[in-house]
Symmetry: C2
């Protein structure tokens, strides 16, 4: 007999969702049993739900389709919310299956009962509950449709245990027609094309699928012909960069730098991006990074068909006679020696990263040198922390490696943030994923020392230091990694680091380098 | 000039809240600076918010007053929700301070923006937002009043950055009058006393402050005189037990055992407890553990003054001529040798636990032998996982040790659950807390293998095993602990374990024993 859990599992598979990042509990046991009956579904265990949702995000960014997650009631979902927040900001599609008590058991208020809908809504675009096993195909289809709405959305399907174990109709689900992104709006394309000819100081600000190589080439030709500046949003889900591609900068994180970046800008054309705002508010500083007089032309928002919009802009503006895209040439900056610094790590990466690496960046302050040394590095995808909820780096890498088993994944990981979801290393070992993790071990929440000053709160005294410093005791990342089955080594000089990185890039499987900076 | 953050900090201190478990971010920097100006506030950093809220729970259970927590926006709160869920179920008081963007910055939808209220409500009894720095005393007082409402509640105060940094009135806050628990209701006391004389098969089911030694003595005298059975709820925030105290059993977790426990029960008198229900629903089994014909007398709910209610019952029922309370005598069961088992660990604990130890139990399946071997062990407090959200054990111990620096804390920690909030070990090292952690390393979610069968979903196949087993690779807890600055050793025989436990109980400071069972 087919049960609701089988129907859900079959509906996911019929729609190409064949990877499930999971940490189940009792209320999900029938769904677990259904997964047992469907070996086509790859199940990947995370030892904490923040790993589960962060991995599903990394998977979606690279596979360009949703993974499923399997989470245990309200608290299991709660543990995964921070990385759902990041995924939501990245525009990643995802279908979360959250188990709940059997419908008739809810009124008893058993210990694990909580209001799952209230928890899910802030980080989900769609929240639904399967009231009956018979509806699990249509409920799952609604979830998948929501998840696949451009640019990608978070769908959370609550699965009561009795909907999971109840009898379901026979028959095989078929794939739904996924929703199409919004077609480019002719008037807005015309407005942008006209603006590009008006001689004003112009920035084309882009994100989402505008950051793929072909679209970047087209946009660079438009930029050259128009004299506009091409720039990426501050945080982006995925960006193609390196040699043979356009060398692109992002809006700086620091408010003063961002304000300076746009001080002369008279108009901004947004393509999949939002008008830049401060990551945080600071006393006496503006929240909007554009001058008040700057005109904002919202050519195509994140839900649009960005490649089509960019092609339409190229047609309308005319790039037939424009120069070839300015591809970055292969370049390896000179390597220094001596004490290890974030700068030297970026240089070593420019030397040793293999072609088509996937770089997952949660290096926070320590990674600010990475961009300028790697415009001419081997071509790579660059995945960022998009929502500011720390603890995404190693989970993101885990999911990206599941999606792309033939590509090397490199994680740039700040130590404080890394501790949030350190359990991801175990999944990398379990799945034998090809991930090199570089931990920037500065032994403090370095960014917060800066922010304490920037908000005008002064320098850290005893209580503040005890909340911002991680040096007593120092974390030993080599031990932590080995504790989870990941080989690891420590480096405190450029030479040691470079040797370790080269070796790690030449072998397969997870490896962690603790970079003592 | 005094700012809002100072006013909040002063109001907390004026009300005896002098411990703040924290993981702050940029929006909390002015509150961090205020804490710097108030050295009377002890700030304890957790490297993940689940540690922060779990520690505040453990602190509250032992200190019998709230700690503050400091959390960073929606995602920081989200990371702490699972242990807030447990604290809510334990009846622990807590005041969470959750930073948010400056009020005028919210409309810009900066990357870290989310609906904090929606996230907070399911796990909070009270949620409030400080709209102005001038109101921070009254808003904080409302939060403290809510937290101190019996038996203890979760209050979540959202602190926008501009309320934190804005000018606040001078003057020193004074302590509020905390709300009193509900007085015993005479009619209900009479009803219970009458029922105790009617000769029916009776269970007195208790929780909360009924589980303290003096109240247990009184209740045992009532039980002896009436012939009623005295029993504790399945999960309890804190329970006094060991030699010189009443040997009490709890309602079993397993549904079949719980049903059998109450098969002959004709009436139940609830004192601070709830009528027992299944932790989960199982196909074909009832959700309520009492027979349908069983009468339930709700003598005093969790919000009542339980010691007063118990005293009133003793008066009304009359215990003047009843026998003395049946105190458990000191007893150490015989110690076996050879391979280490959960049973042998319980026996070793009965031998080596020092007087007044605090036992924090998240041993899940492995701890089911603990009770029967330790009725006559050294007197101790027993703290449980109350809400079923795993990952509370080591944080709970951390907070209990902060509250009671002169008592030995012992954590009984299942390995799968332990990985959820493994970062707690670092805080134990940083604060030099006197905690012995025993990890039951069975290398699987053992409980779920049983639940898979119990819900009728069969035995684990390949996909299920990959989600329920932790043996590939095996976690190395000694490395994990050392990676966070905690000394550790591994034991696979009873002799090794007993030696390590004795030594750990005779020294001060954090130590972890990996028990290979």
């Amino acid at each position: 007999m087919k049960i609701g859990a089988d129907l859900l599992c079959d509906t996911l598979l019929a729609n190409g969702i064949d990877t499930c990042f999971a940490n189940p509990g009792t209320s999900e046991m029938h769904f677990v049993a259904a997964l047992d009956r469907q070996p086509a579904m790859r199940c990947v265990l995370g030892l904490f739900e923040g790993v589960v949702t962060g991995a599903a995000d990394g998977y979606a960014r690279m596979a360009e389709k949703p993974a499923a997650t399997l989470l245990h009631l309200g608290p299991g979902l709660a543990n995964g919310l921070a990385n759902l927040h990041n995924a939501r900001r990245a525009g990643s599609p995802m279908v979360n299956v959250v188990g709940d008590h059997a419908t008739y058991h809810l009124e008893l208020d058993a210990p694990l009962t909580s209001d799952i809908e209230s928890l899910a809504r802030p980080m989900s675009h769609w929240v639904g509950r399967a009231d009956s096993p018979k509806m699990l195909d249509s409920t799952a289809e609604d979830a998948i449709r929501a998840a696949c709405t451009a640019p990608g959305q978070i769908a959370t399907l609550i699965l009561p245990a009795d909907a999971s174990w109840g009898a379901a109709p026979a028959g095989d689900p078929v794939a739904i027609t996924p929703p199409q992104p919004t077609a480019p709006e002719a008037a807005r394309i015309t407005q942008a094309a006209t603006a590009l000819r008006n001689g004003r100081n112009t920035t084309i600000l882009i994100s989402g699928k505008a950051l793929r190589d072909a679209e970047l080439d087209t946009l660079d030709r438009i930029a050259q012909s128009s004299g506009a500046r091409l720039m990426a949003q501050q945080s982006n889900g995925r960006m193609m960069r390196g040699a043979g591609r356009i060398a692109l900068d992002r809006v700086p994180y620091k408010v003063d730098l961002a304000l300076a970046t746009f001080a002369e800008t008279e108009q901004v054309i947004l393509i999949g991006a939002k008008a830049p705002v401060g990551f945080f508010a600071y006393p006496g500083k503006p929240g909007k990074m554009l001058p008040e007089s700057c005109e904002v032309i919202d050519m195509a928002d994140a839900g649009s068909d960005l490649p089509a919009a960019i092609a339409a802009l190229a047609d309308e503006f005319g790039v037939a006679n424009s120069p070839a895209p300015r591809h970055a040439s292969r370049a390896k900056p000179d390597m220094s020696g001596g004490a290890l610094t974030p700068d030297a790590i970026a240089v070593a990466l420019a030397h040793h990263m293999p072609d088509n690496a996937i770089v997952c960046d949660e290096s926070v302050t320590s990674g600010r040198d990475f961009f300028r040394h790697t415009y001419g590095a081997a071509p790579h995808d660059f995945l960022q922390l998009t929502g500011g909820a720390i603890g995404v780096g190693m989970p993101l890498a885990t999911g990206a490696a599941v999606a792309c088993p033939d590509r090397k994944v490199i994680t740039l990981q700040a130590d404080g943030s890394g501790m949030y979801t350190v359990q991801a290393l175990w999944t990398q070992a379990r799945e034998e994923l090809d991930v090199v993790t570089i931990v920037f071990a500065n032994r403090r929440y370095q960014i917060l020392h800066g922010e304490l000053k920037d908000v005008g709160a002064g320098t850290a005294g005893r209580n503040a230091s005890r909340m911002l410093d991680l040096d007593n005791p120092a974390l030993d990342w080599v031990s932590l990694a080995r504790g989870m089955g990941v080989e690891a080594a420590s480096a405190s000089t450029v030479e040691e680091f470079s040797d370790l990185l080269r070796a790690a890039c030449q072998r397969r499987g997870p490896f962690l380098i603790e970079a003592l900076i």
